[in-house]
């Protein structure tokens, strides 16, 4: 391969060639830093030193040394490590050391997915082999051969698994794992930042159960977590594990200078504020980088986009036979294919790789020179991880952010300091959720009877156990609560689904090849997956043929029609309990529990472009009730507003507010709902309700309760700053022309945010 062209030369082209430069809104650089090294610890086992030497390592980065020392002194810790900073040595070294010092020592490695565990096993095997020692390490998951399982249980030194397997395959059968639990020295939690929201809350309980079992067998393992950069690694780790944790933030790995380019595709439809497709822009930029020989990774949000970009990029190489310089990379690749891509990247055979966010997780593909993000990945932490893929050691790296016509994307273009200047979001979990807590309390009771004085994690559970007794699940004897039904509680609890009963979407276009293409929470499903609904999945239209509400399955077939469907959902909100309230001037924000009763009524078929109503039908589904936590903001009708005008403005404002929630709490758009009511029963005033989509709530609305003023201000500023004329999907949702809705919404939001009125 010819000598690589330095990144800054390409940067020069981008900034001077008018077809690119006019769209570059901002350009920033972040300085690089030198590596900080440390000697090997004195007690480090010679076999480990030998293994490291064979990989060309003769000293450690400072954070790896610090990790070893904390672990050796029995302190649990979290190491915050950017991509490619040698994070796995932070745990491999102390774990291997403990096994070489005492052959009975055991360790559990927990990875968020099965694939990641299998991937890491290869890496670990390599290190063990180089050490010349016998350390048995296995993955234990659904793929583990039955014949191997008993060997893993009895003699595996290191067991690599995932939370789901721990939850339903290991903990309920702990009596088969005595030698593991008696000798457990370390529990490794890799990719800590992925344990957030509902999934993280479940995992927090799985870990409380794990600690309870360890305690029963007399072990007190040290926890080692590694995390991508998030705002609150210590808080997350401590609430996940319910123990004091140290944090290693000073990373000794070197980093090169990073060039950030913020690129906004040109506006092609001023009225609706529509810009040129980000995918096409990415294609052109990537083609430039490809021609200049810059190794590049392109991130796209969906598989379809990945495929589109791969097709575009391959066009550049179509004249060459067997050319593999452009590769796609998305979920579902086999380890062998990954190895091939990895190798191709390392050796320079692959010049461009297009990926979904699968690569955000710690899969090792080495480091590239440039990274292109097709749109904002939804949160800063992910953006950091994607950006972290570019930059080899001390080399300079180029990161190009290409915005899409979406609210958050455009916000980032306007406020690059949001991405660069501040720390990434907090990752939050909410183990207090009653539903999650009770589910795992059952599992814990099944695993070991609770004593009549015992606590569970940080919870006083005696009253809850009495409740379970009244439900017929437990039996109380003199000093213990015993499990006494023939059910297996872990099989009734899934760690992954946001709600226990998501609706599964099944594509039956080809009857012999039905496949699951997605899932949706019950609530959204009522309006989006009712029979005859047009469901759009990654740009393809499907019609819902059948919705089996009891089984929670929606059967869809691909169609090609010129309309979409819009359903009306009658939502009734009932405040059950107001826990807290705060005044914002004359307005009031409150927080508490609500019951949401939703009844779908009718749906309309609406033609694209003209938005004509071309038909309608009833939806016959039972009402759904959701008990969750909520925050609401009520205000007096502003002077000069009529009821009808206010209703419309509040609807637009709710749209804008909803788009900005991910700026304040790390969650997906569907984790939270915003409902405007022009006269709420509870307050008697116009009120915005924001509630968690998950039964019992997962702490999202509680967080927003403290930040209403900020949220309203952000939404207000964004609506005014949006370049469309009268409302577009980027700000308040698509509007019919000629209505001054955008002005109304902006004015309402500014009023509420306490700013000047009538800014527009």
């Amino acid at each position: 391969m010819t000598e690589k062209i330095a990144v800054h030369e390409v940067l020069q082209t981008l900034r001077t060639d008018p077809s690119f430069s006019e769209n570059i809104i901002h350009y920033k650089t972040i300085a690089g830093k030198e590596a900080i090294y440390a000697e090997f610890p004195k007690q480090l086992h010679p076999s480990i030193i030998q293994a490291l030497a064979s990989k060309g390592i003769d000293q450690l980065y400072s954070h790896q040394r610090q990790a070893f020392e904390l672990a050796s002194s029995g302190k649990s810790f979290t190491a915050v490590t950017p991509t490619a900073s040698g994070k796995s040595l932070c745990y491999h070294l102390p774990v291997m050391q403990s096994i070489l010092e005492d052959e009975t020592s055991r360790a559990i490695y927990l990875f968020p997915t099965k694939a990641l565990a299998q991937d890491q096993l290869a890496d670990l095997h390599e290190l063990i082999e180089a050490s010349g020692e016998t350390i048995l390490s296995y993955t234990y998951d659904g793929d583990t051969a039955p014949g191997l399982r008993s060997k893993v249980r009895k003699s595996g030194h290191i067991v690599l698994t995932n939370p789901d397997m721990l939850h339903s395959g290991i903990l309920p059968h702990h009596t088969k794992w005595v030698s593991l639990f008696e000798n457990l020295k370390y529990i490794i939690i890799d990719e800590l930042h992925t344990y957030k929201g509902v999934f993280g809350s479940h995992v927090a309980h799985v870990l409380r159960r794990l600690k309870r079992i360890c305690n029963y067998y007399g072990s007190d393992p040290v926890f080692i977590c590694t995390s991508a950069t998030i705002a609150n690694p210590q808080e997350l780790a401590e609430s996940l594990i319910n123990s004091e944790m140290e944090v290693i933030v000073n990373n000794g790995a070197p980093a090169g200078k990073k060039h950030f380019v913020f690129y906004n595709p040109p506006v092609v439809h001023p009225t609706f504020g529509i810009r040129r497709s980000a995918v096409l822009e990415v294609r052109d930029i990537a083609a430039l980088l490809y021609r200049e020989g810059i190794q590049t990774i392109i991130f796209a949000k969906s598989r379809v986009r990945v495929e589109m970009l791969v097709t575009y990029m391959k066009a550049l190489t179509k004249k060459k036979l067997f050319d593999e310089t452009v590769m796609g990379y998305r979920g579902g690749y086999l380890p062998s294919e990954r190895r091939k891509i990895e190798k191709g990247l390392r050796e320079g055979d692959i010049r461009t790789v297009v990926s979904t966010n699968a690569l955000e997780l710690g899969i090792d593909i080495g480091q590239l020179q440039a990274c292109i993000m097709t749109g904002y990945p939804g949160n800063i932490a992910s953006a950091f991880q994607q950006a972290g893929r570019a930059g080899r050691r001390q080399d300079e790296a180029l990161i190009i952010y290409v915005a899409q016509s979406l609210a958050l994307d455009q916000y980032i273009i306007e406020h690059p300091e949001y991405l660069l200047g501040q720390s990434p979001e907090e990752a939050r979990i909410h183990p207090d959720n009653m539903f999650i807590l009770m589910d795992h309390l059952k599992c814990a009771s099944f695993e070991l009877p609770f004593s009549s004085t015992e606590t569970y994690g940080e919870f006083e559970v005696q009253e809850l156990l009495a409740f379970l007794e009244s439900e017929g699940v437990l039996i109380k004897t003199t000093d213990k609560w015993h499990w006494m039904t023939d059910s297996f509680p872990a099989s009734e609890v899934s760690l992954r689904s946001a709600s226990q009963e998501n609706v599964i979407i099944i594509d039956k276009t080809y009857p012999k090849e039905t496949k699951v293409i997605g899932e949706m929470d019950r609530f959204s499903a009522m309006t989006l997956l009712h029979e005859e609904a047009i469901y759009i999945h990654q740009g393809t239209q499907f019609q819902v043929e059948e919705l089996d509400w009891d089984e929670k399955k929606a059967y869809v077939s691909e169609v090609d029609v010129d309309y979409f469907t819009d359903a009306n959902l009658a939502v009734e909100l009932k405040v059950m309990n107001e826990d807290n309230a705060e005044q914002y001037g004359a307005d009031t924000a409150a927080y508490g529990d609500i019951a949401v009763l939703a009844i779908p009524t009718i749906f309309k078929k609406i033609r694209f472009d003209t938005h004509d109503n071309i038909g309608s039908g009833p939806i016959s589904l039972p009402a759904e009730e959701l008990h969750t936590s909520s925050t609401w903001y009520s205000f007096d009708i502003p002077v000069g507003w009529t009821g009808a005008g206010l209703t419309d403005a509040m609807t637009g404002a709710a749209y804008a507010i909803q788009s900005f929630i991910p700026l304040f709490v790390r969650c997906d758009k569907t984790d939270i709902h915003v409902v405007p009511q022009v006269k709420a029963v509870h307050t008697g005033k116009p009120t915005f309700f924001i509630y968690d989509s998950y039964p019992g709530g997962i702490g999202l609305s509680e967080k927003i309760f403290e930040r209403w003023d900020n949220l309203l201000r952000q939404a207000a500023d964004h609506v005014s700053a949006c370049r469309c004329e009268s409302g577009c999907p980027v700000c308040i949702g698509a509007q019919e022309a000629g209505m001054d809705m955008k002005r109304d919404v902006g004015s309402l939001l500014h009023t509420l945010a306490g700013g000047e009125r009538n800014v527009l």
Binding site: E244, E447, T455, E463, F467, I475, W483, F488, N577
Partner: protein, 428 residues
């Protein structure tokens, strides 16, 4: 009020401890033997007796059977000669007992199917005494009496041979789990010899039974029909109920269910042993062929041959599968002529995969041992034709076997007609 609503109400009562310390160490809890349950008298009135040991209390039921007791159409008294038969046979066989240990017929009833939260609430053992049979059933007085319950069984005291039905995958691992859950109090569980009659039944009656559930075996093989039995899957609910409200009538029915299970174990053991070790034909040709094959797989070739031979003596060529297995035995013994005629009978009488394999063996024998190349070629061509037409065979088998026969055909042709080998290869 819905479960959801109840939980939302409880939310207000949720209290947290402020410490992040480890939970209370269970080891520190001083163990005191649990008090008898409130329903003790009711359970004793129902027919249980009470035993006390150093870990607390346990309930028992003992039933003795006369020496001439019959279960179905099998006399329990046959057990003595069953054991003698094994002793004199000298066979190393999964159903052969360890003569140094006591033979115990064993079955459990549990509160669920798997996991650390499933309890054993009933363990029954049947042993042979000097003059009769004695069944001892131990009943768990309540979930807090487990240590005494497990201790009383003596499974920690004396190694024995446990005869079970599916015990290898269910009862024994379950006992191990319960033992682990009580290991602070109990002496270690001993390693007992296991005889799993489910495994044996599957070998013996392969192709004879649609299901190997114990009641089916009882009806078809032992002549025992249950009347007024409670279904096994009801047992967990019945025990749960008995502990909650103290009533024991239904629980006693579970004890009878367990008793029948164990009596069936004895009868099944006698019956299985007779089939395995008696030389006369007691069952179908298929059953005895299964048995002959089983001995062959266990490398007890002499007995295997003897059994297959007597089936052939009885049924002649009417049961070709016997000849198929007999062929392998003869081939082992290098009696190639007899082996070939056995495989010929098998190839003519069998269908499917076994037929092809019989032809393969025939071809091998004729080509390499008997040096009758024409016959080898005939068998090969027959197999090739069948592989083409018999659609019941799996695609994978047809591919793999087909390739091998093709190679064989070319090779035999080359040997038969050295000059034309080339041509034949090209055609092939």
């Amino acid at each position: 009020m819905s479960y959801e609503q109840k939980l939302m109400q409880m939310k207000k009562m949720l209290k947290k401890t402020d410490n992040k310390a480890t939970p209370e160490t269970v080891a520190k809890v001083v163990k005191v033997a649990a008090e008898p349950p409130f329903y003790e008298q009711e359970w004793l009135d129902a027919g249980l007796t009470k035993a006390v040991n150093k870990h607390g209390i346990v309930y028992k039921r003992i039933v003795e059977y006369d020496a001439d007791h019959h279960h179905g159409n099998i006399a329990l008294s046959g057990l003595k000669s069953t054991i003698d038969k094994w002793r004199t046979s000298g066979e190393v066989h999964p159903l052969s007992p360890d003569f140094s240990k006591q033979l115990l017929f064993f079955d459990t009833e549990t509160t669920g199917l798997k996991g650390a939260g499933t309890l054993i609430f009933l363990m029954g053992f049947l042993e042979q005494t000097a003059s009769s049979f004695k069944m001892t059933q131990y009943v768990l007085p309540g979930p807090n009496h487990e240590a005494a319950f497990l201790y009383e069984t003596g499974l920690w005291e004396k190694p024995s041979t446990l005869v079970t039905y599916n015990g290898k995958s269910f009862d024994i691992p379950m006992v191990e789990t319960r033992w682990t859950m009580n290991r602070r109090e109990l002496p270690p569980l001993l390693d007992h010899t296991q005889i799993d009659l489910l495994h044996g039944s599957r070998r013996i009656w392969k192709g004879e039974m649609a299901t190997f559930r114990l009641p089916a075996i009882e009806e078809e093989q032992l002549g025992f029909y249950r009347e007024g039995d409670i279904p096994g899957h009801m047992a967990p609910i019945i025990y749960q109920d008995a502990v909650k409200n103290g009533r024991a009538e239904l629980l006693m029915k579970v004890l009878v269910h367990n008793e029948w299970d164990i009596l069936s174990l004895v009868a099944l053991y006698i019956r299985s042993t007779d089939l395995l070790l008696k030389t006369d034909i007691l069952d179908s040709a298929n059953t005895h062929t299964n048995i002959g094959k089983w001995f062959g797989d266990l490398k007890s070739y002499g007995r295997s041959k003897q059994i297959l031979k007597s089936v052939i003596a009885e049924y002649g060529i009417n049961h070709p599968a016997t000849h198929y297995h007999f062929g392998f035995i003869q081939k082992r013994e290098q009696d190639y002529e007899v082996a070939a005629s056995s495989f010929r009978i098998a190839a003519d009488g069998l269908t499917g995969r076994d037929q092809i394999i019989a032809l393969e063996e025939l071809a091998k024998l004729y080509e390499h041992k008997l040096k009758e190349l024409t016959k080898a070629l005939e068998a090969t061509n027959e197999a090739i034709r069948l592989l083409k037409t018999d659609t019941r065979l799996t695609e994978k088998f047809r591919m793999r076997s087909g390739n091998e026969f093709k190679k064989r055909e070319i090779r035999i042709n080359r040997k038969l007609f050295p000059g034309q080998a080339r041509e034949s290869t090209e055609k092939g």
